[in-house]
Every structure is written in structure tokens, then in C-alpha cells.
Amino acid sequence: MLARLGASCRDTLERFYLLGESAIAIAEQRQKTSNYIRRLLNYCRNRVRSMYIATTSRESLP
């Protein structure tokens, strides 16, 4: 599922969740505001979560 995300989404999620960087640090490096990064994180996480829920509910169908 993560592979189906765009590069920007995947990179942001990876840096925040896997590498443990803060939204502020990501924002500084990308020259964006930290609020923008938080909204982006929320959007990207919701996308991958929706994909996950769709997959698992399909798998659980008889």
C-alpha cells in the first residue's frame, strides 16, 4: 500500500514515522510551514489507512 503512494507522501510519512523526525524539522528542510507538513501527514496517513481498510474489508468478504 505504501508503494502506491506518491513520492512526496511516502517520503514525509517515512521521515516522520520511521525515522522519527519532527514536523518542524521536515518543514525546515522542505522550506514549508510545520502546519503544512502536519496537514500533509494527516492527508497521506488517511490515504494509506483508507487503502488498508478497503483491502481488509474486501478480504473479509465471504
Partner: protein
């Protein structure tokens, strides 16, 4: 208020400060929103697992996962090695040997595993032997600061330092060294705040901060910290930590004499205890709520809760808690006019607390008894009760300021100069001195003529 949207909850899971006070209140009370948030947080924790990213990471694909796996293996090895290295220091009887061993200066002990194990032992040692707990936590802190930043992931080092300082703060709190405890709390919070995500340790250290402020009689600060700890626990889904923070808040309200509000808080936790089937929570909150109803003059509710608490503590064999309930029941009897039974029970409480070596609490009960005797018998009876308690303190070698305060009240009783104001003054002092042993007793200024 409407339920919080998925977007709001999602942003909140990323950054806790993004919620307004009104939204936070709603979340604290709404099970549906809490469930929705827990779903998001569970998904977030999956995203933090290295396995989720296997084969996907562009930045440092295999390297990161391999590093994390290597660290996991190393941590497990360190933990096993620490158990062997420290085995001889496990019990408080080894305290002197532990201090002399000076392990923080010895390179073979300078591992994350040793620091983690010392933290765990310190945590379990606070009630048994707080001084040894402090020594363990101090050495854990020294080791955590001696670990080279390059040899561990930076977040692991901050977490370890935060934990060691938290245990230090907790031990200092149990020892009544409150200003030092507060300094350790602040340092611990600073370490935890360096982590990219709020974690369990930060919620716990906020709770310790609240306890320290409470024990210093700084009720406003204690209240703020209790709210903070409760919010943090709620965000992380730590139900018991949340309830502990609420329990602290209840005691803050009780000390402010806001008994109805305090009862409300304790009743909330009581409902949680019942829903969870936790006998300890039910007994503890029944006692606390019963104390509030006693102060509010709602005798029937007080009796109902205190009877419940007594039955449950008896079933669990919690002897000191049974005595505390009996103390409250004796005060209830006094308020209902059953003075002989109240006096009889308070005397028994003093004897039981003394046998448990809880002398300061025995002293507070003695002052309660002195108050009743002042209203019903005479100064000679008061002097007799207090003389016994004073002797117990001296026999135990506890030459503390509580002893001075009790002796002062006893002398006043002998001289026939006891007033309700003096009894209240001494009681307040004894209660404070239990939390702050370094306090010195100063006699109250004379009543204005």
C-alpha cells in the same frame, strides 16, 4: 457538541496541541471519539514499525531496517548481560555495596541495558526503600549521560535519560525531598520533549510533577499538572495513568475544600473501576468519595461508600487501608453524635497505625482525637493521648518536628490553654510535615485579644 471529525482527530494524533480546550473536553468525555482516535493511533504505531517499510524506503532502505534490527538484537543482549552484571545488587540489603562499587565509572557497566535495569529496579523500590531507589536512579542517570551519542539512536538516549530522571524524581518524592524532585522532573521532561512523539514516559513524569506540587501544597500547579498528565494519558490511550491523574485532581479539589467537585471526580473513577472490574480502584475511590461525603455532611452516602471500601480492602487484606477507612468511619460516627464509639475507634486506629510504624499518620489521628476530647472531655484526657504518641515517637527515635508539634499541643493541654484553632493549626502542620519532613514547627502567633 458534535463529534470530532476524522480530520481533527488525525491532526491531533500527529500534534497534540492542535485541539482547542472545548474539543479536548469533548474528547475526554466521548467514548466514540476516543475509540476513533485509538484506531488512528493504532495505525500510526504500525507505521512506526520498521517491518512496515521493508523494501520501500528510498532514503536509506535496507540500511535503516538493518540498523534497527541490529539495535533490537543489541538491546536484548545488553538487557541479558545487565541482569548478570547487577544480580548481586538486586535487594536493598546490597545498598551500601552498590554505592561503594561505583559502577557508573566502570566502562563495562556503561550500557543502555544496565541503565534500563536500574530504572526498573528503582521504580519497584520506591515504596520499599526510597533511598536505595534514589541511588539506583542516580547511577542510571549518570550512565545514561555517559553513553556516547553515536553508539545509540539519539531518540533511545533521550528516552533513557528521561526515564532515569523520572525515577530519580519519584524516589526524591518518596523521600520528601520535593524541590530536588521538581528539578529532576523538569530535566526529565526536557529529555522526553526531544523525542518526536509524545510517549508514555512524558505522561508519567507529568503525573509525578503533579504529585510533587501537591505535596508542596502548591495546589494550582498540582491541578495544572494533573490536567496535563490526564490529557497526555488520554491521547496515548493509557487508561490507568489517566485515572491516576484524575485521582490526583480529586485530592487537589478535596484539599481546596471543593468537596462536591472532588466527589464528582472520584465517582467518575469509581465507575471506571466498576466497568473494569478492578477491586483496587473500586475500594480506593469508595474511600476517597466517602471522605468527600463525610465533609459534605451527606452521612448516608458516606457510610455506603466507606462500608464498601472497608469490605473490599478486607477481602484484599490491605491492613493499613482498612485502618484508614476505620478512621473515616470514626469521624462519621462523631459527626452523627456517637461520641463514645468514635473515641474508641480512633484510639484503635492510633494503635494500629503505630503497629504498622506509620507514626505520622497515627499523630494526625491523635490530633483528631484531641479535637473530639476537647469538645467532650477535658484537657487531661488530651494530654494523656498525646503523651502516649509523643512517647512512641521518642521510642522510635523519630525526633522530627512532628514530635515538637505534638509536645507543644500536649503542654498546652496540660496548661489548659488548648483552643480549636490550636488543634487545627497542629493538625495542618502534622499533615504537611508528613509530606515535607524538613519543615520546622513554629508555634502559632497568640490569638488577638
Amino acid at each position: 457538541m458534535k463529534h470530532l471529525s476524522q480530520r481533527t482527530l488525525g491532526l491531533y494524533a500527529i500534534e497534540a496541541t492542535l485541539l482547542s480546550a472545548e474539543e479536548r473536553d469533548h474528547l475526554a468525555a466521548c467514548h466514540d471519539c476516543q475509540r476513533a482516535l485509538a484506531g488512528i493511533q493504532t495505525f500510526d504505531s504500525v507505521l512506526r514499525e520498521p517491518e512496515t517499510w521493508v523494501g520501500l524506503s528510498d532514503a536509506a532502505p535496507r540500511q535503516t531496517n538493518d540498523d534497527l534490527r541490529a539495535f533490537a538484537v543489541r538491546f536484548a543482549e545488553e538487557d541479558a548481560e545487565a541482569l548478570e552484571l547487577l544480580d548481586e545488587f538486586k535487594e536493598p540489603v546490597a545498598a551500601a555495596r552498590f554505592v561503594w562499587a561505583g559502577i557508573a565509572a566502570k566502562p563495562r557497566f556503561r550500557t543502555g541495558g544496565v541503565a534500563r535495569l536500574l530504572c526498573r529496579w528503582a521504580n519497584g523500590m520506591c515504596e520499599r526503600d526510597p533511598l536505595y531507589a534514589l541511588k539506583l536512579a542516580e547511577v542510571a542517570t549518570q550512565i545514561s549521560y555517559a553513553l556516547p551519542d553515536t553508539s545509540y539512536p539519539r531518540n533511545a538516549i533521550h528516552e533513557l535519560r528521561g526515564e532515569a530522571l523520572k525515577e530519580q524524581a519519584n524516589a526524591l518524592r518518596f523521600l520528601g525531598r520535593l524541590p530536588a524532585a521538581l528539578r529532576a522532573v523538569t530535566k526529565s521532561e526536557l529529555e522526553y520533549r526531544r523525542l518526536p512523539h509524545e510517549n508514555l514516559g512524558l505522561a508519567a513524569v507529568k503525573y509525578v510533577r503533579g504529585c510533587v506540587h501537591y505535596e508542596q501544597d502548591e495546589l494550582d500547579d498540582a491541578e495544572a499538572a494533573a490536567h496535563d498528565a490526564a490529557d497526555a494519558s488520554l491521547r496515548l490511550g493509557l487508561a490507568d495513568t489517566y485515572m491516576n491523574a484524575r485521582h490526583l485532581l480529586g485530592h487537589v479539589l478535596f484539599d481546596r475544600q471543593e468537596y462536591a467537585a472532588a466527589a464528582n471526580v472520584f465517582e467518575g473513577i469509581l465507575r471506571y473501576g466498576k466497568a473494569k472490574g478492578s477491586v483496587v480502584w473500586i475500594a480506593r475511590e469508595s474511600l476517597s468519595a466517602g471522605g468527600c461525603y463525610l465533609e459534605l455532611g451527606r452521612a448516608a452516602e458516606a457510610r455506603h461508600h466507606l462500608d464498601d471500601a472497608r469490605r473490599l480492602f478486607s477481602e484484599m487484606g490491605f491492613l493499613t487501608e482498612i485502618t484508614r477507612v476505620d478512621w473515616a468511619i470514626a469521624r462519621l460516627m462523631f459527626s452523627e453524635g456517637n461520641i463514645p464509639e468514635a473515641v474508641h475507634r480512633l484510639r484503635r486506629c492510633i494503635a494500629e497505625l503505630t503497629s504498622h510504624e506509620m507514626l505520622t499518620e497515627a499523630a494526625v489521628v491523635a490530633v483528631d482525637l484531641a479535637e473530639i476530647l476537647h469538645a467532650t472531655s477535658g484537657p487531661r484526657e488530651i494530654a494523656k493521648v498525646l503523651a502516649n504518641v509523643v512517647r512512641t515517637f521518642m521510642d522510635a527515635g523519630k525526633l522530627t518536628s512532628v514530635l515538637t508539634a505534638l509536645a507543644y499541643l500536649k503542654d498546652a493541654a496540660t496548661a489548659g490553654t488548648v483552643t480549636p484553632g490550636l488543634v487545627a493549626y497542629v493538625r495542618r502542620f502534622v499533615q504537611r510535615a508528613e509530606r515535607q519532613p524538613e519543615l520546622l514547627f513554629v508555634p502559632p502567633p497568640p490569638d488577638p485579644v
